[in-house]
Amino acid sequence: MNRVDELVAMIRCENRSPVRFMEVCGGHTLAINQLGIRSLLPDKISLLSGPGCPVCVTGTGYIDSALRIASNPEVILTTFGDLIRVPGSEGSLETGRASGMDVRLVLSPLHALQIARQEPGRQVVFLGIGFETTAPGVAAVIRMARSEKRDNFFVLSAHKVMPPAMDALTSRGIRLDGFICPGHVSTITGSAIYKSLARDRHIPCVISGFEAADILETILLLLRQVNQGTASVEIQYTRAVRPEGNPRALQLMEEVFYRRDDWWRGLGIIPASGLGIRDEFRAQDAEYLFGRVTMQGTEPAGCACGSVLTGQMTPSECGLFGSVCTPDSPAGACMVSSEGACQSYFRFLQ
């Protein structure tokens, strides 16, 4: 019997009562759905998708600001691909590009900086979105831009950090029996960030890798904690996560960013959950040049992304799901992003 079958068998033995485990990482949303993990688990185990998709939790106000900035002809807007179809209140980056705005897809902030070097007469604005896995790289690029005295490279930061959101989820009475903690966020942050969550909210936290055996082993470890009545932080993904995290990356993040309040779709304003660019680096701060972003914007009528993101609703329970809102014509962010719960559900599970 191979490892996956072994783990599934052990999970079936260990599982006694109905449990709800939530993952908070877009990579886990995608892996769980692509691998078809739910189809292997007993019905009593519910796997919920939380606010782990950076595109999904970022408000429409950010898209509106990005479009406003891109409407300046000297601006080249650079972005990760997922953001390009997210609807703002007056169109998306994709419709902006179609109407003549210079919007370019990049796979890395390094590519955005390269564009700034190649086009000194234009202003390159990088849309900084993502959690603790992405922020250190963006921090490194901001530092590089400053040391090169590059006055045409900017970052519009919508970066966020995970633990405050996880805490907000649990403090609002959403019933969870365990967290499948993000693997690569934890590679950067280490495991200590979940300790207060486990201790104060009494929720088991297991940091998981992305292969099938990783995710299944994580579920098993969570089940064992539930059965033992314990609530501690464990690292399943030991091959990539050290308890202390990546100190260099953390230090870079700390040097370039400061914590500020931020608005999350589904959760509202969460104190100290966003990353703003420090004053010393204001020459690279797009908000300094173009004005502060108001994250919260207008949500489409009937869109239940907020409830889906907090595990209170499954995508199919949203009134717009599958009819008005489909991957071809998404109403809300959860349907746009390939890591969004709604798109995942639509594509893999129906």
Binding site: N2, G27, G137, T187, R239, N246, L252
Partner: protein, 82 residues
Amino acid sequence: MCLCIPARILSVDGSFATAEVGGLIVNTGIHLVDGVKTGDYVLIHSGFAIQILSPEEADETFSLLREIESYSGEEPVKTNEP
């Protein structure tokens, strides 16, 4: 992007390195990791190495993947090189 397969470092040049994954050679920033050298395995995300893995740790991922492949009993895919 969130690459979950360890990439092997082929060469280091200042703050950058070339790495190989499945035959694909990519450039990666190594600003976030200390002491990377040729032969190391790293996890790459959005153009940056975020963690160095020991050969044993890298092998753990490979063996999880290999186990799935061997389970199928399929022949390895032939490369599309001429």
